[in-house]
């Protein structure tokens, strides 16, 4: 990974900020006292237990973040309702498929976020990943023909595009739009 001191400091600051937010949520009190104590505790934790760096190269775009969240929750409700309906349909044997989806952006963070989002939505499950090639192997429940499989593959690509638009860097965004330009 890039060991530029600037990006390292930025990564650590983001980590401290996130941990402090969690600390304040745990206390349930939003005051300067919890903020400062949280800052100290989290700085000590980050300094004492260093983790392998996760480079967050992008920047959050609030509007796209909201768009991603709304779409994620509608997908969640839709998929849960579909799955519940399948569970109540007797004498129906659902078919499934294991498909490989090659992600456009190959960073570790993008692979992780896409994997999390895909497996949080019921009806799809990560069976295996290929980190070097950026491929997710997804088990999809209740698909009945090749057409549905291709449809699902497009949905995963759309999900990845939404994630990159929400928090990706400009370079990653360009990659996504280029991919879309040449079908």
């Amino acid at each position: 990974m890039t060991a530029r001191p600037n990006s390292r400091v930025r990564d650590r600051l983001i980590a401290v900020g996130a941990l402090t937010a969690m600390w304040m949520l745990l206390w349930g009190v939003f005051s300067w006292a919890t903020f400062l104590s949280g800052l100290i505790v989290c700085a000590v934790v980050i300094a004492a237990f260093p983790l392998p760096p996760v480079t967050f190269a992008g920047r959050p775009r609030p509007v796209n973040l909201v768009r991603f969240t709304v779409k994620f929750f509608t997908d969640l409700v839709q998929a849960s309702a579909h799955l519940a309906w399948t569970a109540f349909r007797f004498r129906y044997e659902a078919h499934s498929a294991v498909i490989a989806v090659r992600l456009t952006v190959r960073s570790d963070l993008n692979l992780t976020l896409c994997g999390e989002a895909v497996s949080l939505i019921p009806g799809s499950l990560i069976v295996d990943t290929d980190r070097d090639a950026g491929v997710l192997y997804i088990h999809v429940f209740d698909v009945n023909d090749r057409q549905a499989v291709e449809q699902y593959r497009r949905e995963v690509h759309a999900l990845e595009a939404r994630i990159v638009r929400a928090i990706g860097s400009d370079a990653e965004l360009k990659q996504i739009t280029n991919e879309k330009g040449q079908p």
Binding site: G28, A84, S96, E116, L120, P122, L125, V127, H139
Partner: protein, 126 residues
């Protein structure tokens, strides 16, 4: 019909739908044909069902301290559930504990190098 009634009705709706999703998951767990399908059924109460029940509880309790705790519970659950599901799913695939005849396509088996196809991979029933 004042505000607290509305909140109570909303909370009740959330709790009931969350419980209903759990029931559907239990049913799916019983009658889906193979392990990987059952895992899909298991994701439901862990994600949407739990979020609904937590929302209902947050509406009923309505104090900041409790709501922050509930938000953290939801966040932890959303962060950890996929990890567990992935580990179990990976183990299920590698030990071939699923019905191949139910699969329309298996692009992971095609990826494996020769001699490592799914059928020659360690059969689990020996």
């Amino acid at each position: 019909m004042n505000l607290s009634d509305v909140v109570n009705v909303l909370a009740a709706a959330c709790l009931l739908s969350g419980a209903f999703l759990s029931l559907a998951a239990g049913l799916g767990l019983l009658r889906f044909p193979d392990l990987l399908s059952r895992m899909h059924a298991a994701t439901k109460p862990q994600v949407l069902g739990l979020l609904l029940i937590l929302t209902g509880t947050a509406l009923r309790l309505g104090t900041v301290v409790d709501i922050t705790t509930l938000i953290l519970v939801g966040a932890f659950q959303l962060a950890t559930a996929p990890v567990a599901a992935h580990m179990v799913g990976r183990a299920a695939y590698r030990t071939v504990q699923f019905r191949r005849d139910l699969l329309i396509t298996d692009e992971l088996a095609a990826q494996s190098p020769p001699g490592q196809t799914a059928d020659s991979r360690r059969p689990e029933q020996s």
